[in-house]
Amino acid sequence: MSHTSTLHDVPHHHANPTGWRRWLFSTNHKDIGTLYLLFALAMLFMGGASAMLIRAELFQPGIQLLDPDLYNNLVTNHALLMIFGSVMPAAAGLANWMIPLMIGAPDMALPRMNNLSFWILPAAGTMLILSFVVPFFPGGGSQINTGWTLYPPLSIQVGMSMDFLIFAIHLLGISSVLASINIIVTLLNMRAPGMTLMKMPIFCWTWLVTAFLLILVVPVLAGGVTMLLFDRHFGTSFFDAAGGGDPVLFQHLFWFFGHPEVYVLLLPSIGVLSHVIPTFARKPLFGYKSMVGAMIAVGTIGMVVWAHHQYTIGMSLGAVSYFMIGTIIISIPVGLMIFNFIATMWRGAMSFETPMLFAVAIILMFTFGGLSGVMLAVVPADMQYHDSMFVVAHFHYVLMPGAVFGLFAGVFYWLPKWTGHMYDERLGKIFFWINVTGFNLTFFPQHFLGLAGMPRRIIDYNVMFTEFNVISSIGAMIFGFSHLLLLYIVIKTIRGGEPAPSRVWEGARGLEWEVASPPPFHTWETPPPIRQEQSA
């Protein structure tokens, strides 16, 4: 590091960094975005592998492949790897890559901290994987059998791997909070002159709301798991009724984080959709202002309805009624978003490239997941569905289309921009159809299983559930292995392909399409002028 610069020299006209230093010491939003996305892809495969083991075990009743402890450990790991390891980093990767390009900023506002936010993730991933493997070593204690929700008293009885998991959550929290601070500051302080908040592309708006949610709820989870740590090792009794505490307190702390987390996963993908659908319908987004209002409403109401995950714990009637009504109210702004998307497509000149296929699938399937969510929000009905496979089907219908397909749509939409090459459209469409078929085959039968009474998170099941589980497991294998095709498409596109123009899609609007594909190492060193038609 040299500090020989004279006053006011422009610092980034040094030669661009190369080799390992470029990636490890990076202060470049594009490189850090790439790192986030690659990390997310690696974790997607690890989380996917654990899911496929779970489904292989559930292929038929009885205990074949796994023992119950390992099964529980895999259930825990699958959730944590997917949520914290894959979806959140992938969304952060899109934010890093696209937000500075979209708002005409030279980089994220705090580039060194940006790199710290990313590099904490591999550390957290290491702790997460340690929490999974430590029990297999002598003296490593029992496996984590709590699921990702870590409810005490069970989580207080688990061996040392729980401590690795708690620290992994601390690290993930630090990473998320730092990344969110960076995104908020970038969006509020780095927009090109003339880009007012209400001209900001919707993807930026979704990330602004998401970042606020993260800053407000992640520290609460950190506090909750800290109390867990103290209960485990230092004799406190926050979650021990004998000392006047309450295990239910942890559930409140967890879900105060956990429910807004659902919107943290969802909103960036809604942002991607708000770009993909206008592009391929060749019409501007319908109802920009109502979109912004809807996502702020979702974020705000989403923060005060957490206890609908805990209807069966014995809350007072007043409390459950409040949480039920609040939860159902959320379907209004979410419905508004869906109707805006449909209105955007109405009479558009539509074409169905891979990102648009995913977008349409999201509208159909996310709505489906949302509707089963309204069923679950109703207290007396939920008393029946609670902790059944119906819940598993519901949240996979929300999170796979709502979060992951949105990220896939974003990756296909912007991959030509990032790499400078068009992806193979034919393979992209094949991937879409295999993926969506596999997904529905996996999770649709689980609705019936849940309604018929099959509980979730249990290694064995009654023989009456066999048929649907067989279908679900076959679907899961198709679904899981289809991601190898995604990997192949991505590698193929990085290595070569038809050169992409700077405006990759003819209908695309926005500043990111005015830089070359791939963009130069530094973009928008002088802020671009903002014209009316550029706003998304």
């Binding site: 990076s26 990313f118 590099w119 505490g245």
Partner: protein, 290 residues
């Protein structure tokens, strides 16, 4: 030192090794902590190594930032980024404390009435622990940690409130001096703030000593002990951090790093200090007083 140039390019730092150092130090510290808590003796050395590396990271990273600032490479927009960053960092800290305050309110207003037979759990109470009185302060039906005396509000805690509120005034005095380019007032104000802050920590340590010895109020004293030590402990930790930050700022003031128009670091620490102050008021009211 004036950064009046609005239109200079936004400052993008060169590639920096510090984030990687940060990652390694955090990972080392936490792996060591997990091992130590589970009785692996070598863990504590790993923790110490990790913390030393973390201290090195802080020195190195801030040395770079200070050097860049002194070389006048930050324009007003960068300054605004720093301010917003610090603001939202403090916001996240507020919500960290909210988790513990939330736990306290929940225990007192929901969990204890439940244990006392509120709602449909009355039968449980009658059968299992009918003599339990669910009044605050409580160490639960199991009477964990044995009989204890709760901490009163009007001894050391009231004095500590006075100390922290005064320190809020002295740091404002220092800031006022800085804005007049009056180095002497700046240094005096900072020294007074640090002295008050350290005195607070000393009193707090004495209070803990007294609680453990004379009052039999320990971390194991049921949920009262848990919430008491967790809230005051995390606050005390933040006061200590704030005092260390103030000392760093004092050192920089003595070197003449700050001017009336360029002193973000001072203001960031001052905000942090006021935040710690406000949290204390919450503690005084809800942990000690009511």
């Amino acid at each position: 030192m004036s950064s009046t140039e609005q239109q200079t390019a936004y400052f993008i730092p060169e590639p920096s090794p510090w984030p990687i150092v940060g990652m390694v130090s955090l990972l080392t510290t936490l792996i060591g902590a997990a091992l130590t808590m589970n009785g692996v003796a070598v863990g504590r050395y790993i923790v110490i190594g990790g913390l030393l590396l973390f201290a090195y990271l802080l020195f190195g990273w801030f040395r770079d930032v200070i050097a860049e600032n002194l070389a006048d490479r930050y324009n007003r927009q960068v300054d605004r980024s720093f301010r917003m960053g610090m603001f939202w960092f403090i916001a996240s800290e507020v919500f960290f404390f909210l988790a513990f305050f939330g736990a306290l309110f929940y225990i007192r207003n929901v969990a204890l009435p439940w244990l006392g037979g509120d709602g449909y759990l009355g039968a449980t109470r009658e059968i299992l622990y009918s003599q339990f009185n669910p009044a605050w302060p409580s160490h639960g039906p199991g009477a964990l940690g044995g009989t204890f005396t709760p901490m009163g509000a009007w001894g050391i805690p009231a004095l500590n409130t006075l100390l922290l509120l005064s320190s809020g005034a002295t740091i404002t005095w220092a800031h006022w001096g800085l804005k007049q380019d009056d180095q002497k007032t700046l240094v005096r104000g900072l020294m007074a703030t640090i002295a008050l802050g350290l005195l607070f920590v000393v009193f707090q340590a004495y209070e803990y000593f007294h609680a453990y010895g004379a009052l039999n109020l320990t971390l194991e004293s049921g949920v009262y002990g848990s919430t008491f030590y967790m809230l005051t402990g995390f606050h005390g930790f933040h006061v200590t951090m704030g005092a260390i930050m103030l000392m760093a700022i004092l050192g920089r003031s003595l070197k003449g790093h700050f001017s009336a128009h360029n002193h973000f670091a001072f203001e960031a620490v001052a905000w942090y200090w006021h935040f710690v102050d406000v949290v204390w008021l919450g503690l005084f009211i809800f942990v000690y007083w009511f």
